[in-house]
């Protein structure tokens, strides 16, 4: 009898200890990674950029296996549709955990002034990011109240592309400013070559900002956006006058070409130069399989040597994000050297960190990263850095007014009017 009781007691105690043990081991495992649930990442990265995002998500899932990552991508040229969906979601009180937004006024002017974002200053201090990113970049994503997002990519806007062998054949050098370009352009036309390849409407805005950076220089470019220099001032009109002259030397079917088709004109030898952001390098080396430096060359757009006009994709933490902790872990990964060097080589951009591992990048990106760490950094207009969305949208209309009238004063007046309307001037 007693014996039997002891046996039962022993069995019970074994069971209890065993149960405790397993529960302890569960506790230990979940301590390793206490994150679970979901993480919804909202972006417009599909197509070429899809694999880069997927690599980042894979890395995240490896680190936090219990989190289910939802990749909410809305496709469509430079995010016009994604932004519309995002805005209705935010207005409807259903924010994603984190969303892609261009660093600069697209973030500040739209989301920070609306008090929709959480301050990330403490995360920056905790992770030591204040020194990892260049100051000019942190300024772009900060207000006096805080830092509002984590940058993941850097692209350069002011780059001029060409084919070195063709330039030798035609006997021209890369122009060092737009006046030099205007001198060699007639020579190229005599040879039956289009001096400058141009694409659809927004690429004209893109060209405008490179021309403006040459005509105004970086200090006045920034003064323009701080409201210290008027768009209809003499210098402001001079930008449009220069653009007017340059447009004499572009392919006349530009408004129907995509930016890739404009790049094709240069590659095929129909045109000499093209001004486009450095995603063109990715297009030429990956899609067209051309050898950087040998089969295509680059230089800062005329007159902007030593200045790096940047645009950057970043992710922030919206107020009311359903899975805050998961998002914080995601942002930590984005800002880390590992995350950045996983994503950027695949996307064809460079890392916003100054300590990135350059051996992982291609030839073009290495040269861009070098400029990024030594050049003066300014923000781009066409890609959301220096002006709010209201101005950017109306600027497309101003460009339309200019292309129809080719009247520099009229365009400058209209630009000044929309700057006033959107609180820049």
């Amino acid at each position: 009898m007693l014996n039997r009781k002891t046996i039962i007691l022993v069995v019970i105690s074994i069971l209890v200890v065993g149960l405790l043990g397993t529960s302890l081991s569960v506790a230990a495992a979940s301590h390793e990674d206490e994150l679970s649930g979901e993480l919804e990442i909202f972006s417009w990265w599909a197509g070429n950029e899809g694999p880069a995002l997927q690599a980042l998500i894979d890395l995240y899932e490896e680190m936090h296996p219990n989190v289910e990552v939802i990749n909410a991508t809305v496709t469509g040229g430079s995010g016009v549709n994604a932004k519309a969906v995002l805005k209705t979601r935010m207005l409807g009180g259903n924010p994603p955990d984190s969303f892609q937004v261009h660093a600069g006024q697209e973030l500040i002017g739209t989301w920070v002034t609306a008090e929709r974002m959480e301050d990330l200053t403490s995360l920056y201090k905790e992770q030591g990011w204040m020194d990892a990113f260049p100051d000019e970049l942190i300024d772009l994503i900060s207000t006096e109240e805080g830092i509002w997002s984590v940058p993941i990519t850097i692209h350069r806007s002011n780059v001029m592309w060409y084919v070195p062998d063709n330039l030798d054949k035609w006997g021209v050098e890369v122009p060092s400013n737009w006046d030099e370009f205007l001198e060699i352009a007639p020579k190229l036309e005599d040879k039956g070559v289009t001096p400058l390849a141009l694409g659809t409407n927004w690429t004209v805005n893109h060209l405008w900002e490179s021309v403006a950076l040459d005509v105004l220089g970086p200090d006045k470019w920034e003064a323009l956006w701080e409201g210290e220099l008027a768009f209809d001032s003499e210098e402001g009109i001079a930008v449009w006058e220069k653009l007017d002259k340059i447009l004499e030397y572009v392919n006349d079917d530009y408004s129907s070409l995509s930016w890739q088709q404009a790049t094709d004109l240069v590659v095929e030898g129909d045109a000499a130069f093209n001004v486009m952001g450095d995603w063109a390098a990715g297009y030429m080396s990956t899609v067209l399989e051309l050898e950087p430096k040998e089969e295509f060359g680059w230089a800062p757009s005329p007159g902007t040597d030593g200045v790096f006009m940047l645009l950057s994709d970043s992710f922030g933490l919206p107020k009311g994000a359903p899975n805050r902790e998961n998002t914080m872990a995601f942002l930590k990964l984005l800002g880390s050297k590992e995350g950045s060097d996983t994503f950027n080589p695949l996307k064809g951009s460079i890392s916003p960190r100054l300590d990135s591992d350059l051996s992982k990048y291609n030839v073009y990106s290495q040269s861009a990263a070098e400029d990024f760490s030594s050049d003066r950094l300014v923000g781009s207009l066409a890609h959301g850095a220096v002006a709010n969305e209201g101005f950017m949208n109306s600027f497309a209309d101003v460009m339309e007014i200019f292309l129809n009238s080719r009247n520099p004063e009229k365009a400058a007046t209209a630009a000044q009017a929309i700057a006033k309307q959107n609180g820049i001037q």
Binding site: K87, T88, L91, S255, D397
Partner: protein, 370 residues
């Protein structure tokens, strides 16, 4: 008693849809009209509790006479031309196709399917296909080279030319003359139908409007500070061709059903009276098809005001030459965050649709009453 409970049951069954339509259709129309009268879109437009002030009709005033909104005015002109050409083109081609098929050619059902098929495609699909066909260096422009002729250089979707230009400052006078002409037509009809006094009375507004347009207008302030030319953009031709291609099969089906509904007796009678085929269609069939024409006009006209998808697929958001108020509404609202102005554009579009739909509904309702 029986009658009453019937009514109650009917009401109960209808109630859910009445409530839902009340909220989701009319409630939201009301909401849009309200937003269009505010300044929502300044500064922190996307805040949780944005600061919204009522500013009356200022957004509408800006759209029609603000210096910076010339794109809206061109879009409005484009919309008028889209409607005009889509309706007339689809009706004309549809009628011709229907008459050809009505003659009972071999393989009629095959042709019917082929002609009707484009309608089953979405605007995005048609738009993408035709964008390729109309590309400046390919597709249709290269067709003549196959016969050894030079390629066509026309920019179907990107031409910057425009014809039939008018100065927006003259719009009030143009409107006055058009409305005056309508009154003149009414007066003319009343005169002919015998009521001469009524006719003379209707002639009075014509005179006043004409007088103001031709002489009085110079004393009223201009609606725009500077002259502004708007007209028919040739770049819209590509989009018009695509839309007609997509919808002429539909009008063909409508007309064909109508033609088949005409009794053989009438055709025989016409033939006995000595009418040839052409006269039969012109004087007998087409007048009988008037209800089909009416409903086709209504449907095509309101489709042409919803061309957003086709234009977005063919020329993208920033090609102002081919733009439409619906595209501008999307950009103003969701790209520029200017919700109030976007709502105002939506209301203008809504009114334009109502201009087509309401008279049709009223006349349809009256006919049923009689």
């Amino acid at each position: 008693m029986q009658f009453k409970s019937d009514k109650i049951i009917a009401l109960l069954i209808l109630l859910p849809s009445l409530v839902l339509i009340g909220i989701f259709v009319y409630g939201f129309i009301g909401q849009t009209v309200y937003v269009s009268l505010t300044d929502w879109g300044q500064g922190a437009a996307l805040a949780k509790n944005p600061e919204i002030n009522l500013i009356g009709f200022k957004n509408y005033g800006d759209l029609f006479s603000g210096f910076l909104n010339s794109r809206f005015r061109q879009d409005l002109v484009n919309a008028v031309f889209y409607t005009l050409f889509l309706v007339s083109g689809a009706l004309g081609i549809g009628l011709i196709l229907a008459i050809l098929l009505d003659r009972g050619p071999k393989g009629e059902s095959v042709f019917r399917t082929i002609f009707l098929y484009p309608m089953s495609l979405s605007f995005i699909v048609t738009g993408t296909i035709w964008r390729w066909l109309l590309a400046p260096r390919g597709g249709i422009n290269r067709l003549p080279t196959m016969a050894g002729l030079p390629a066509i250089g026309f920019r179907w979707l990107n031409s910057r030319q425009s014809i039939l230009n008018f100065n927006w400052q003259n719009l009030p006078q143009i409107t006055a003359i058009v409305v005056g002409m309508v009154f003149f037509y009414i007066a003319f009809r009343q005169w002919r139908s015998g009521s001469k006094r009524k006719g003379l009375l209707s002639l009075a507004p014509t005179g006043i409007l004409f007088l103001w347009a031709l002489w009085g207008a110079r004393f009223t302030p201009a609606i725009l500070p500077t002259p502004e030319q708007h007209g028919f953009n040739l770049a819209t031709i590509g989009i018009i061709i695509t839309a007609i291609w997509q919808y002429s099969g539909y009008t063909m089906a409508l007309y064909l059903a109508g033609l088949r509904g005409i009794s053989e007796d009438l055709r025989e009678a016409a033939r006995l009276d000595g009418a040839n085929q052409f006269q039969y269609y012109l004087n007998v069939a087409i007048p009988i098809l008037k209800p089909m024409t009416m409903s086709a006009i209504i449907i095509l006209a309101h489709i042409s005001l919803k061309m957003f998808a086709l234009i977005f697929a063919m020329t993208g958001p920033d090609n102002a030459a081919t733009s439409h108020p619906a595209v501008l509404m999307y950009l103003t609202t969701f790209r520029a965050n200017n919700f109030a102005k976007g709502a105002a554009i939506a209301v203008v579009l809504f009114v334009m649709v109502a201009v087509f739909i309401v008279p049709y509904l009223v006349s349809a309702y009256r006919e049923r009453r009689v």
